[in-house]
């Protein structure tokens, strides 16, 4: 997607020095554009742990590059396999629930196992890191192509009036290497000249919608409006939403969707108002072992300070302000589960299917 008018990814190799991996420090968004140089696997681990980067696809790609930096370090030492394995374990420990992270580390370790020289080790690690990133971008691009058809159809049925799309949290370009999942159909439709407008849920307590989704849509020139998380139901009651698209952190083989807390409330409102509710996901986000999302998907509880405080800019400084009484407790559940019955369909890199086991396994027959 475009940033400051130029096509940009969320992670890349330094154009003049392949020993440096560059990322966007997303903690500074939307208030500042900070590019960070990563020179060691440990710096990569810190960047993931402290959420300079976040989002399933981008965490996986960043871990892939982290293993490449580990290979470079190992190639200069005398204990390659052990130090690479240690780096992988360290990377895996940073966000233990991120499926793509462990997957990227394991893929790198398997690939590097065939190296017969330090030079080959580094070369394999680099090409694997680039492959992981390319595959992530390609998968999101495919999701965009399939979802585009939905938006184009709505545009036709509205006689070309702007298609009104609501999204929650950031399942955007910033969460992947490019395009995003929920945003991929939006960018694809916008780039084809289909008029559309996006309602961006603020997404308290971390406000990823206001901070990240609004910013990336704005950079790419997509018309959008930030709203409080309380607002979507009212908009749907009044015909101001044609389509909901969200991402997912984990979706069961039966179509139950774990996503950022509050997604379930929007799914209920969409259902109550007859508005299509789609979930966009690369197939790596399916949990093929699970059948009952509400019972089986563990829900992360985070610190109460995220609820009691809000952070943003004041007087040119990035500050946290205390909103609630200092001595009131707060609870902070990170995700909720939207039952498959409320999901109109899943937009995957292989196409769109119903949120049912037969629908999903028809697209992914090897998982049937």
């Amino acid at each position: 997607m475009n940033v400051h008018g130029k096509p940009t990814r969320t992670i890349w190799l330094h154009p003049e020095n392949p020993a440096i991996v560059q990322i966007i420090d997303q903690r500074a968004l939307p208030h500042a554009w900070v590019i960070e140089d990563l020179l060691t696997a440990e710096q990569v681990a810190t960047a993931i742990l402290e959420m300079h980067v976040r989002g399933a696809g981008l965490i996986g790609a960043t871990a892939g590059f982290g293993m490449y930096l580990a290979a470079r370090e190992a190639a200069r030492s005398d204990n390659s396999a052990a130090s690479i394995h240690a780096a992988g374990q360290r990377l895996k420990s940073t966000r233990p629930t991120a499926v793509n992270l462990a997957w990227a580390v394991d893929r790198q370790e398997s690939a590097m196992a065939s190296a017969s020289s330090p030079g080959e080790l580094v070369s394999i690690a680099l090409s694997t890191a680039l492959e992981i990133a390319e595959e992530d971008a390609a998968s999101c691009r495919s999701i965009g192509g399939h979802g585009l058809a939905l938006i184009a159809e709505l545009s036709r049925s509205k006689g070309g009036a702007p298609v009104q799309i609501l999204t929650h949290c950031n399942a955007g370009w910033l969460a992947f290497v490019d395009y995003g999942s929920a945003t991929a159909p939006i960018y694809a439709a916008h780039d084809q000249g289909i008029p559309l407008h996006v309602w961006v849920d603020e997404t308290r307590p971390r406000s990823q919608g206001a901070k990240l989704t609004a910013w990336e849509l704005g950079q790419h020139g997509v018309p959008h409006t930030v709203i409080a998380d309380n607002t979507g139901g009212h908009l749907m009651q009044h015909g101001l939403v044609d389509l909901v698209i969200v991402g997912t952190d984990r979706t069961t083989r039966t179509g139950d969707v774990a996503n950022k807390i509050g997604t379930y409330l929007k799914a209920l409102a969409a259902h109550d108002n007859g508005i299509p509710f789609y979930v966009a996901l690369p197939s790596s986000s399916f949990d093929w072992k699970m059948r009952d999302g509400l019972k089986e998907i563990p829900i992360e509880e985070r610190g109460s300070e995220e609820v009691k405080y809000a952070d943003g800019m004041a007087d040119g400084r990035h500050l946290e302000v205390l909103v609630a009484p200092a001595d009131s407790p707060a609870a902070n559940f990170g995700f909720d589960v939207t039952p498959a019955r409320l999901v109109t369909g899943l937009i995957t890199e292989r196409g769109i299917c119903s949120a049912t086991e037969p629908g999903i396994t028809a697209l992914f027959p090897d998982k049937a």
Copy 2:
């Protein structure tokens, strides 16, 4: 309710000087406890306009005291009726949609019309102001008594385990003269020793839940936890909510409920999970002329800066921080309408009824 351990109302006459009306400047809550002296009707108008006080019941009571101060001023001048009427018009102009405000002003003007001397004018205005405040408190106390029965029954069915209640925004003590509407049954049950716990929706964008409801529950010693507005659905899915009680800004004669934006989403989740959803209201909040809340109730749109900014304390200062991109638009709808079909019942000062025209008019037969 108690503040700093002492029974306190939200508006009162200065204990040593009846020419002074005292209020809590609610803008400073929960971070500071500021009592403000009001000496003139114009100071009262400013306090209402700039939301030092807010909430239907409290706005009405404050306007009543404002007219008392206007009467004191008029009694010292030579043009009583005209200056009192002008003060009333000024008070009415501050929050034009607040039904109780115009009602309190008109009631004072009618009462004062019978005065035959400046002394009698002031005396009538004072007793009328005190009556309006007493009636508001009495009405809320009755709501508490009726709602208490619901909580007591849930407590019995749970074998005395804490009854889990979710509320949205502030329909609390701070919005009335005492007790509140949605909070009245909670305070009544707590004061009877029934174990309970309140989930307090933050209520973005103005965060009245985090700032006001959490504060007043804490002052009265009621166990509570602040949550992001996104959280209620997840809690209900997991059996962590036994009852929802909210207030209302306007309810139609057919039981459609306008309340703070986001109420509808919680009603949907309660319905989806078989959890009782009650609305507590003094009968002054019924709009007896309206039958279709979604079509007829006007929804106030407020400034976008409330969505783009969050305010709170940092470094000992009260600050606003910018959360969203500076150039992203934001929309700010103040209220939504929960259709009567999602409302289990209405808790009024006369008792509990179904959210239907027959149910409501059975309690209020003069409106049938």
